[in-house]
């Protein structure tokens, strides 16, 4: 992931004579998806692709508008967003807190890391039956599944980020007579931040995944419920709308993290630009 981070500035088109040609190429990249969309629409219109398997693009667009106007879609999005948000905050706080405990002291590492490494090996989607037994089928098991999924990437990345801080800078801190608190605040935490942000992006990815799985199993509200309910009535158009909203939300949260990265890691960008 960090390799991708390093590579990005190179992709950024520069103000070179190649500029206009690049723009044409970028436009060309839209051609094949558009062609696919047209073929899809024709296949649906001619009955080659029956609606019970996959609805036509036009139908899906109309359904999206309809669901939005009826308020079904915004309500479902609201419910799902809330689950992800709460789960993400709880799991993220837990993951980062545990990483601090493990990362900042040997005793903490011995106490926390073996447990986290063992739990990490658990397939957390396999925990759903247990969660249902423990928490029923309300909001808790869904939020907790998201929280659990989020906590591991944040824990692992923050922990390795803390441990990966340059020992030479720690020596500088010693010669500058920094206190332990100052060392943590000025050297260790900012040094671990790039890796934590990598963890944050991974965490958001699995957060949506965990939510989708949790909402498929049992839900009476939310996007997952909307999709499941649509399956009962063979409404492939509603299912596709639900899936598109999932991916749009995933992309949106990823964009927020990237914005955060660009601000927090400005010191690195100066070097790469």
């Amino acid at each position: 992931m960090s390799v991708v981070e390093l590579a990005r500035p190179v992709e950024r088109p520069r103000a070179t004579p190649k500029g206009p040609r690049r723009r044409v190429t970028a436009w060309h990249r839209w051609l094949s998806p558009l062609a696919l969309l047209v073929i899809w629409q024709i296949a649906s219109a001619t009955g080659l692709l029956p609606e019970r398997l996959l609805a036509a693009p036009a139908t899906i667009a109309a359904t999206a508008v309809e669901l939005t106007q009826a308020g079904t879609l915004p309500t479902a999005i609201g419910v799902s967003l809330q689950r992800v948000l709460i789960g993400f905050l709880v799991g993220g706080a837990a993951g980062i807190l545990l990483a601090l405990v493990a990362g900042l002291s040997r005793a903490g590492e011995n106490a926390v890391d073996p447990i986290m490494q063992a739990l990490r090996a658990l397939p957390f989607f396999g925990l759903i039956p247990l969660f249902i037994l423990w928490f029923g089928i309300g909001e808790e098991p869904k939020i907790l599944l998201v929280a659990l999924a989020v906590s591991f990437p944040l824990y692992l990345n923050t922990f390795s980020g803390i441990r990966g801080v340059d020992g030479k800078l720690a020596e500088v801190a010693t010669t500058l007579k920094l206190s332990r608190g100052q060392l943590i605040r000025h050297i260790v935490l900012p040094g671990a931040l790039p890796q934590t942000l990598v963890g944050l992006r991974q965490a958001l990815g699995v957060a949506w995944l965990a939510l989708i799985v949790a909402e498929q199993v049992n839900a009476t509200t939310g996007l997952g419920y909307m999709i499941n309910d649509a399956r009962e009535f063979l409404r492939t158009d509603v299912i596709v709308v639900g899936l598109l909203v999932y991916s749009a939300l995933g992309l949106a949260t990823d964009a927020i993290v990237r914005l955060l990265e660009r601000r927090a890691l400005a010191w690195r960008r100066g070097f790469l630009a």
Binding site: A173, T175, H186, G191, L193, W267, R268, G270, F271
Partner: protein, 231 residues
């Protein structure tokens, strides 16, 4: 008042690097420490900087110590000014003055990774000097710089030393550098100070100075290198 080391010893496994070493660094004196690669120069400097917990013997340093390392070791996520003031309560004005002294007044908002090698090393000197040390430890801080930048930084170091008058211990493997800068040159060999030579030549010094040429040959011989240009 001075810095005194007595019976200082350090071994890495079976290899004894410092062997019951005695040394006194006098106030305001510019001392260069030479030695072959692996002779323990940096080990001695790290012991003085308080970075080595396993060194034994007595190290008596009065007053504050500051270090400039071989790599500038600026904290990359702090702008230049914040690097200078890191761990200090001093007002920003003092740090700005320190940056001005090394010719970086205009770069105080720059990220360290945008600085050139020479600029970063000058910033590292400013960060050390703003602490008004009585002992300034320089661990081969010029070795990674290009020849032209090195000449400018040599002059800068001499100016700063003349103005602030800390005792300086410069670890280097460059005999000419030692001869151009120092009042006193030490050669570390077999874990002890094998040679202790005073240089009284006036500054600014020139490599071609006959007195220095003789000293250079002596020092090179002490370092186990046969001086060139002699038949």
């Amino acid at each position: 008042m001075a810095t005194r080391l007595s019976g200082v010893a350090r071994a890495f496994g079976d290899r004894v690097v410092l062997d019951s070493l005695d040394l006194e660094l006098r106030d305001g004196e510019f001392t260069a420490l030479l030695g072959r690669s692996g002779s323990g120069k940096s080990t001695l400097l790290r012991a003085l900087a308080g970075l080595d917990d396993e060194v034994t013997g007595t190290i008596d340093v009065t007053g504050s110590v500051a270090v400039a390392f071989q790599e500038p070791r600026l904290v990359p996520w702090k702008r230049l000014l914040a690097n200078i003031t890191l761990g200090l309560d001093a007002p920003a004005g003092k740090a700005k003055a320190a940056l001005a002294e090394v010719g970086l007044a205009e770069r105080s908002d720059a990220w360290p990774l945008t600085l050139s090698g020479g600029e970063a090393q000058r910033a590292s000197l400013a960060r050390a000097l703003v602490r008004e040390p009585e002992l300034l430890l320089l661990d081969e801080p010029f070795s990674a710089l290009d020849a032209l930048t090195r000449i400018t930084i040599h002059q800068l170091v001499l100016e700063l030393w003349a103005r602030h008058r800390p005792a300086v211990l410069l670890v280097t493997h460059d005999v000419d550098e030692a001869l151009l800068l120092a009042d006193r040159v030490l050669v570390l060999d077999e874990g002890r100070i094998a040679h202790d030579i005073s240089i009284t030549a006036e500054r600014p010094r020139h490599r071609e100075d006959p007195g220095l040429v003789t000293l250079r040959n002596t020092l090179l011989a002490a370092l186990g290198v046969s001086p060139e240009g002699r038949s």
